[in-house]
């Protein structure tokens, strides 16, 4: 039987891992929830952000600039993607959208591999994130502790912009009836572009924030894409609060299963997803019948 201190440690680790997963998943859910596009390039944008951040960090030595740089490069990718391709796909069936975004993800990852090679890269945490925090009996890397705060603040900020300003309202109205919104004097196309950009930027931002924790490899995006899907399916596809709830649930499942039997932690994640799909197909926070 695991000791109480181990249980509390894993419970806390589940929360920290979960919020990070939520942060990684938000871009996916923002783009789907507002534009209705399932963006399979999300994992690749996460990788692009991470590598761009690595480069800026190397050049400037500033982690804050690295985060800004990674987010900016991902934003630029998102804007180009939307203007160059995705715009033509809004009215096409979802399979077409999946294929085109999946294709983009392969291209982005291969560009990263071409530029940086396959040997994994290391990003050291910034000065303020170096060291180990001790909370009771728990020993936890300071940087991971701080990402908990960073993720929470970023998620609140994104939620506010998308759901408490008129931007979100305009996008939703634009999807229902673009002509009408245009007639009201609002440029729907530009709003769509902006939302796609924000979604991509969120992926890139998460990529840089995550980079001091892991070894950067061009292939890592795929696994995060899968985990992001599990998170948004559990929380409710397209629901922003759902991504947060789904992330925390996924984090706790991974940590607590690993405490008892590490072999099954991944399996349990998919079991949880299957259970949600059986008993609440729209996800825990999703709305029924939403396209």
């Amino acid at each position: 039987m695991p000791s109480m201190s181990l249980f509390l440690s894993q419970l806390f680790n589940g929360l920290a891992t979960g919020l990070l997963l939520a942060l990684i998943s938000t871009g996916l859910t923002i783009i789907y929830g507002t534009l209705g596009v399932i963006n399979f390039a999300h994992g690749a944008l996460f990788v692009v952000g991470g590598y761009a951040g690595y480069t800026v960090y190397g050049l400037t030595g500033s982690f804050v600039l690295a985060v800004a740089g990674g987010a900016a490069v991902a934003l630029a990718c998102g804007l180009v993607m939307e203007r160059g391709l995705m715009r033509k796909y809004y009215s096409r069936p979802p399979e077409d959208q999946i294929l085109v975004t999946f294709g983009i993800s392969i291209i982005l990852v291969e560009i990263v591999r071409g530029l940086y090679g396959g040997v994994s890269l290391s990003v050291t945490p910034p000065d303020w994130g170096t060291g180990i925090a001790r909370i009771g009996s728990l020993i936890y890397p300071l940087y991971r502790l701080e990402t908990l705060g960073i993720a929470a603040v970023t998620l609140l900020l994104l939620y506010f912009v998308l759901y408490r300003t008129s931007l979100g309202l305009i996008v939703r109205a634009g999807i229902e009836d673009a002509q009408m919104v245009n007639a009201l004097g609002i440029n729907v196309k530009r709003t769509f572009l902006l939302v796609f950009g924000i979604g991509a930027m969120a992926a890139g931002f998460a990529g840089v924030i995550n980079s001091p924790i892991v070894a950067l490899t061009p292939d890592m995006g795929f696994r995060y894409l899968v985990e992001s899907f599990v998170v948004v399916v559990i929380g409710g596809v397209g629901s922003f609060p759902g991504a947060v709830v789904g992330g925390i649930i996924a984090g706790e499942i991974l940590s607590l299963t690993a405490m008892i039997n590490p072999q099954y932690s991944d399996v349990m994640l998919f079991v949880a997803m299957a259970l949600v799909l059986i008993f609440r197909p729209q996800g825990l926070m999703g709305q029924e019948g939403r396209e």
Partner: protein, 453 residues
């Protein structure tokens, strides 16, 4: 519809291929257009096998490379590709470096130019098998080589055996590959879990102490499980205790929950069985969690470039086995040739995945020259003949009973960053292990070899 067609074709390929080859061979032989060696073969009434004789009829011969260019082992896969390319270049040129390994090699193999084609096996058995099948059926490959994951290697070995095409693993650490799943057409040159663990256990017991408590990080597939099993066996013989074994999925990114579990034990050695990017992630995060302040790291089967990925700071004092380390060139002229040629062509020092790839291609070419034929049965028999050749790691040969390479390998200890003479000088060689001494006895793991045709 096109897809349906090609699926149907693939399913009938076996039947079709035989009849097409028979008809083709008969027609061509009738026209006396076959080269002398193939005519002799026909006269002896050798039945077509694999892509033979179709693949051996032209001016060039094709070898298919199934390398993991994506997935957690992509760094090693890319390096293997380099190794094969270097070998092909030297074989085609009849370079003096390659003649030191095999004096029989002139320009090309039996006068034919060696052509390589490569496919990404993606660190997935299915993808690897599809690539190998395509190579043999479409490109008439007479040999298939390449692997980093044992799951991929074992699958490839089976499909190539069915197709009567010699297959050489590049890296495959699992005991199963030649121990349980050995195949008549499968050859593994590299050292593997059993050998590595038997060799490294006494070294670390001597250096780190006899009564250590070990925690394991094990990737959840054949390589991980057999390596952990062998390492437990040999370290427990030395008096070590195993306190926990954390099994993680292949390609895991976040090891936090496993590391917290380990931190809650009294383990003082962390045995990292994880390989490639997984090992880099695990060790990097172990450092972040402060585990390395009180624990030593032992890596029974280390992937190429791990030292670069985690940095000399973390690697100092780490004990690891690897197939090759470039400073072996100080005592071995063949290694010196290899390292210099690799550096000239690709920049940077080669690691073991490039060395094994290079060597496998040369040994296959050598076997073909000795057999004086590409006929798969003759080539396999030539490889089984026990001919000993020089290599960058000393004398090598294959054991006839299970096709396991008898090969030496170094045990390394990470240098202090201050002691490094150049940016690639990560390790000192503690010992070069005599491969013969640490091989399992034939049949220990239960291998049963099939027939030739």
């Amino acid at each position: 519809m096109k897809d349906n067609n090609s699926l149907g074709q693939a399913m009938q390929a076996q039947v079709k291929r035989r009849s097409v080859l028979k008809a083709g061979a008969a027609g061509v032989a009738g026209g006396m257009l076959l080269p002398a060696t193939a005519r002799v073969a026909m006269a002896e009434d050798k039945k077509p096998l694999g892509a033979w004789p179709a693949g051996a009829n032209g001016d060039s011969v094709f070898v298919g490379l199934t390398v993991d260019l994506t997935g957690p082992y992509s760094a090693q896969g890319a390096e293997q590709k380099n190794g094969y390319e270097l070998a092909a270049e030297q074989i085609n040129a009849g370079a003096p470096q390659v003649q030191k390994l095999s004096p029989l090699i002139k320009k090309g193999i039996l006068g034919k130019k060696l052509v390589l084609g490569s496919a990404d096996a993606e660190t997935k058995p299915n993808t690897g098998v599809q690539a190998a099948t395509r190579f043999i059926h479409d490109n008439k490959a007479l040999m298939v080589a390449g692997s980093t994951s044992s799951a991929v290697a074992i699958a490839l070995q089976k499909v190539c055996n069915r197709e009567h095409t010699p297959y050489f693993t590049a890296i495959s650490g699992s005991n199963e590959t030649t121990g349980v799943d050995c195949q008549r057409y499968g050859f593994r040159l590299c050292y593997f879990a059993y050998m590595a663990c038997k060799a490294i256990a006494p070294v670390v017991a001597k250096e780190l102490g006899k009564n250590r408590k070990a925690a394991y990080l094990t990737p959840d597939y054949t390589y991980g499980h057999t390596t952990t099993q062998s390492m437990k066996e040999f370290t427990e013989k030395e008096g070590w205790k195993t306190v926990t074994n954390q099994v993680h999925p292949l390609g895991a990114k976040d090891y936090s929950s496993y590391l917290i579990n380990i931190a809650n034990t009294d383990a003082d050695v962390l045995v990292v069985v994880a390989y490639g990017a997984d090992a880099a992630n695990a060790i990097k995060q172990a450092k972040q969690f402060g585990l390395l302040d009180k624990m030593k790291i032992v890596i029974p089967y280390m992937s190429a470039y791990l030292e670069k990925e985690v940095g000399a700071d973390i690697m100092q004092g780490v004990y690891a086995a690897q197939g090759f380390w470039w400073t072996m060139q100080d005592n071995n002229p063949v290694a010196k040739d290899f390292v210099e040629a690799y550096e000239k062509k690709f920049g940077g020092k080669p690691r073991d995945s490039a060395m094994y790839a290079y060597l496998a291609l040369v040994l296959w070419a050598d076997a073909v020259e000795r057999a004086k034929s590409f006929y798969p049965v003759d080539v396999v028999k030539a490889l089984e003949a026990g001919e000993v050749r020089d290599s960058p790691v000393g004398k090598v040969t294959f054991r006839a009973e299970d096709h396991q390479g008898i090969v030496d390998f170094p045990i390394l200890r990470g240098k202090k960053p201050a002691d490094m003479k150049n940016p690639e000088d990560f390790f000192e060689i503690v010992q070069v292990v005599n491969g013969k001494d640490v091989l399992p006895t034939v049949g220990l793991l239960g291998c049963k070899m099939g027939g030739y045709a």
